[in-house]
């Protein structure tokens, strides 16, 4: 096999296409690193702007009273931009990254659909007509590397047959499986070297620009990303060689490969949208969400009316004679309403992410998308991060409520009816006592374990393609 491997390597190295490929990749990766660094800077600036507005608002409200700090401001939970943005974009511009938590649903101007903690995209406006295109390394590998592999290897077998050299190669004592293995390894090695150089170049540019802080904890993720990308390259090499074995003419092989490429990269990932509503269920429209809130609201009002001696009197001064009895009774229903509406809103948010998961599952039929999904998972992007973000927001909301209740207890003058407007402490508090949102980031090993089944599936696909390639070549008629 060694002679075949060396022969193939020599022929690839002398192929001008390879150098054009390497040159193009080098330029694109450098530009990509520069654009990603700039995007990271913009994302951080944007986050800081929103956080600063929140801090200023919280300080102003806390100066007025604890109640103002609790009610009169939406508490911010915002995602932190991923420092591996240059490797895997992760939809930082597309996915919701911001949640505004109001501790009293009724404060949200009666709009239940706009209300509590639905993750949303922070206000951004882009003018992009060509949205499928990105500059991160994962995109360049997923789209451009795969295209280049097709161009470099589509005629691996068919060209040799057209030139008549394949018969000569197979006429000696070398087993066929060694021939095909040599060809595959040669192509894979050369492109893998390009990948390694590309990753190192990208890291170099990112470090040189200095906008993205790279900690040592991200190194394992870069290594995982490299291995997955190598698997992806191998997959395309095997696919090209398989198609090259399947058709006699090089042009036919190329046409089929290009159609396969477009189908795997573009068509299959877009098709899931057809089935998503049927598979997961429709997301309620704004009108339907408003309706749920209104129905719950009416139920609550009916309950109030059916009970005598209940009613909100609009302030502790009016209700102190009976120890705020009706307000205490009202609070039971208000709190239940809050919890029911929050459970509903959580279920709507979760359903949106469930739809995303369905689309990811569907699109993973394409190995190109599966590669993307694994890369995102290993770098803490993608579907799982969205679930984690939603859970973190819920946790943060509870933490805020518990903290405000605790702080309210310290004021002896307060009627301690959390969270009834005008029935909490009216004294100012230190804004430093209010907890801030912290997103939980799993470790690299946790991310690897989380993605184990995806990686296993990817591995199975590569093995299957290798076997198909091998069997196809064993049966290949070189004449």
């Amino acid at each position: 096999m060694k002679p075949i491997l060396l022969l193939e390597l020599r022929s690839m190295i002398h192929d001008l296409r390879l150098f054009i490929f390497m040159g193009v990749i080098a330029v694109l990766l450098s530009v990509g690193a520069f654009v990603s660094s700039r995007n990271y800077g913009k994302a951080i600036a944007h986050r800081n702007f929103i956080q600063q507005n929140y801090e200023n608002g919280l300080t102003d409200k806390c100066r007025i009273s604890l109640e103002a700090g609790a009610f009169d401001i939406g508490h911010i939970a915002m995602k932190r931009p991923n420092s591996l943005l240059f490797l895997v974009d992760g939809g930082w511009k597309d996915y919701p990254d911001l949640s505004v938590i109001w501790l009293n649903n009724q404060k949200v101007f009666g709009h239940y659909s706009k209300g509590n903690y639905y993750p949303k995209r922070s206000p951004r406006t882009e003018v992009t007509y060509f949205g499928f295109l990105k500059w991160d390394m994962m995109f360049i590998i997923q789209v451009l590397f795969s295209f280049m592999i097709v161009i470099l290897t589509y005629n691996t077998i068919s060209k040799e047959k057209e030139l008549g050299t394949l018969r000569l190669v197979l006429s000696n004592s070398l087993p066929r499986y060694k021939v095909i293995l040599g060809k595959v390894l040669a192509a894979f090695s050369v492109i893998n070297v390009t990948l390694i150089i590309g990753i190192l170049l990208e890291l170099l540019v990112v470090v040189a620009i200095g906008k993205i802080p790279l900690e040592s904890s991200v190194l394992p993720r870069i290594v995982f990303f490299y291995f997955v990308s190598s698997g992806y390259i191998l997959l395309w090499v095997l696919l090209s060689v398989f198609v090259s074995c399947s058709f006699p003419r090089s042009t036919t092989c190329l046409v089929y490969l290009l159609l396969i490429w477009i189908t795997l990269i573009l068509i299959i990932p877009s098709m899931g949208k057809v089935f998503v509503d049927k598979a997961v269920g429709k997301i309620p429209s704004e009108a339907e969400i408003e309706n749920v809130g209104t129905v719950l609201d009416n139920e609550l009002m009916e309950l109030w009316r059916s009970k005598k001696n209940t009613g909100y009197r609009g302030g502790p001064e009016r209700s102190k004679d009976d120890g705020h009895l009706w307000e205490r009774n009202s609070l039971l229903y208000i709190n239940e309403f809050e919890e029911r509406i929050n459970r509903f809103q959580y279920s709507v948010s979760k359903k949106k992410i469930d739809q995303l998961r369905f689309l990811y599952n569907f699109a993973s039929i394409s190995p190109a998308f599966l590669y993307r999904r694994i890369s995102e998972a290993l770098t803490n992007n993608g579907v799982e991060r969205e679930y984690r973000f939603l859970t973190s927001i819920q946790r943060y909301r509870k933490e805020l409520m518990d903290t405000f209740k605790e702080l309210d207890k310290r004021d002896k003058d307060s009627p301690h009816l959390a969270f009834l407007p005008r029935y909490m402490s009216q004294k100012p508090i230190d804004p430093g006592l209010i907890p801030r949102f912290k997103e939980i980031f799993p470790s690299s090993i946790d991310l690897l374990v989380e993605s184990k089944w995806l990686i296993a599936l990817f591995f199975i696909e590569v093995i299957a393609l290798f076997l198909m390639c091998h069997i196809s070549f064993l049966r290949y008629d070189p004449t």
Partner: protein, 508 residues
């Protein structure tokens, strides 16, 4: 030459690659159209549901200050051909006196997570598949004949070099046009038989415009393929060159175009606008407070419930004659102030957001000439009316609609009447509230009884209704003509290059 063309057509159509491409185009078109028609139906249903909800909300309006009709843009049926930005931008604007909205909300796309997935529409077939097809049909137009040894034979006869090349151009273009016709034919057939689509002559003209643009686009790729076939020694090299050019113009250049307008930072503009709006709002609140002090200085505010959900929506229940006169005085003074500050905010919005947005859109459109792919994509979007310009046009129409609503309110003298802020009659008996359980129960019972009393709802049958005005085909044609002439010029230039090159081509 015609004999040559006929021979080339027959051999071209019989080629395996052409047959594979035909099957691929047919299957993809059917798949894409099926997906997009069902998506369009979903959006149409959502649109009608929203119209109905809007009408219902208007019907249930009790006071003029809470009148907030919606301006809703219907889904564009040609988004099946080119989705453009239709699902990315909003299509609904809420109209109210205090606010001129500068962004629309989106009723179609209520899940922001799934917008990361690419849009699947028919234009993908025109832009990606047919361009590839054009290259695959023309990359070996000359070099292939030379490699086969048939080039010398062809040029020995009465056929001149220019005629030979012209026949190659025509055949390649004809083959790709055939694929485009099949694709458009399938789409038009689906439109014609679909019950939710009204296939009018105007739509047919749009299809013809798109076909013409696509034809010019394919002509450019045929020109590139033929030219590379002339300058490369072998078909294999020519093919590599063609694919490299294809990737460059379809992936690399459009990606660069996305960033060329980045110096116009709309997010920065939004931040500045937010500060400006806060200042304007603070000034407004100050003046409003002064008016409140003047109007309500001798009036007890405790006698009625004042709902103020925001944006100056006022709803008062339980008012007495004294508070009613005070409110009338107050809102008569407040209303022009509301309009004045709405205009101030709108001027700031224009300056810091909308004008930069329009400049950025124009800039991206002008940079699109750097790639035939991006230029054609934008032209198709313009014909389909799914571009950013159409969105901005919608926002302009909502501003005009708001003016119609303001004129309507002015004619009704709405801000001067009690119906601006309360559905209660001026002699409402429920004015003494002592906050005892009995009084609260009586009041609640009273308002429960009158909740559906028709006299408490405004009669708004003559309220202007928003009707979105689509651009006429003549306007679209005028808009796309300069860009289309660029496509014509590019394809003509490539043809000229080919003819120039073949004069000195070494056929040996």
């Amino acid at each position: 030459m015609w004999t040559l063309i006929k021979k080339e057509i027959v051999s071209g159509f019989l080629e395996l690659r052409f047959q594979i491409l035909t099957v691929a185009v047919v299957l993809l078109t059917i798949l894409v159209v099926t997906v997009d028609v069902s998506e369009y139906k979903r959006r149409l249903d959502a649109y009608y549901a929203d119209i109905k909800a809007n009408q219902e909300s208007i019907r249930k309006t009790k006071v003029y200050s809470m009148l907030t009709p919606k301006a809703i843009k219907p889904p564009q049926v040609m988004s099946i051909v080119s989705q453009g930005v239709e699902l990315d931008v909003g299509n609904t604007v809420q109209i109210s006196p205090p606010r001129i909205q500068y962004e629309a909300t989106n009723i179609y796309n209520n899940n922001p997570y799934i917008s990361v997935f690419s849009k699947l529409d028919v234009s993908i077939i025109f832009l990606w598949i047919l361009s590839l097809a054009a290259l695959l049909m023309s990359f070996d137009a000359v070099s292939g004949e030379k490699e086969n040894g048939t080039l010398k034979l062809m040029l020995v006869g009465r056929v001149s070099r220019a005629e030979f090349l012209l026949s190659k151009y025509l055949v390649s273009l004809l083959s790709v046009s055939f694929l485009a016709i099949i694709s458009i034919g399938i789409v038009m057939s689906v439109f014609a038989i679909s019950t939710s689509i009204d296939f009018t002559s105007s739509l047919f003209v749009k299809f013809m415009m798109i076909f013409a643009v696509v034809l010019l686009y394919e002509a450019i790729w045929v020109g590139i393929g033929a030219f590379l076939s002339l300058i490369c020694k072998s078909s294999a090299t020519s093919l590599m060159g063609c694919l490299a050019v294809w990737v460059f113009f379809l992936i690399v250049v459009p990606n660069i175009i996305n960033h060329l307008g980045d110096h116009i930072d709309l997010d920065k503009g939004r931040e500045i606008l937010q500060h400006e709006e806060e200042q304007i709002t603070a000034e407004f609140q100050e003046n409003k407070f002064k008016l409140q002090e003047l109007a309500f200085s001798n009036v007890s505010m405790a006698m009625f419930t004042w709902y103020e959900p925001g944006e100056e929506q006022i709803f008062i229940e339980g008012a007495n004659p004294e508070t009613v006169s005070a409110c009338k005085r107050y809102f008569r003074e407040l209303y022009p102030l509301i309009l004045e500050y709405a205009q101030k905010k709108h001027r700031a919005t224009q300056r810091y957001f909308l004008q930069p947005f329009k400049r950025k859109v124009r800039l991206v459109h002008s940079y699109s000439i750097l790639s035939p792919f991006s230029l054609t994509k934008i032209l198709i979007m313009k014909v389909a009316q799914t571009s950013y310009e159409d969105y901005l046009n919608f926002l302009d129409q909502t501003v005009n609609y708001r003016n119609q609503i303001l004129d309507y309110l002015h004619r009704k003298r709405a801000a001067e009447s009690v119906r601006w802020f309360t559905p209660d009659p001026e002699d409402n008996p429920m004015y003494s509230m002592k906050f005892t359980p009995e009084e609260i129960a009586k009041l609640s019972e009273y308002y429960r009884k009158v909740a559906n009393d028709q006299s408490r709802f405004l009669t708004l049958d003559d309220l202007p209704v928003f009707k979105y005005r689509w651009n006429k085909n003549q306007e679209i044609l005028k808009d796309i003509l300069p860009y289309t002439s660029l496509l014509v010029g590019s394809s003509a230039f490539l043809m000229f290059l080919g003819f120039w090159k073949i004069r000195k081509y070494d056929v040996a």
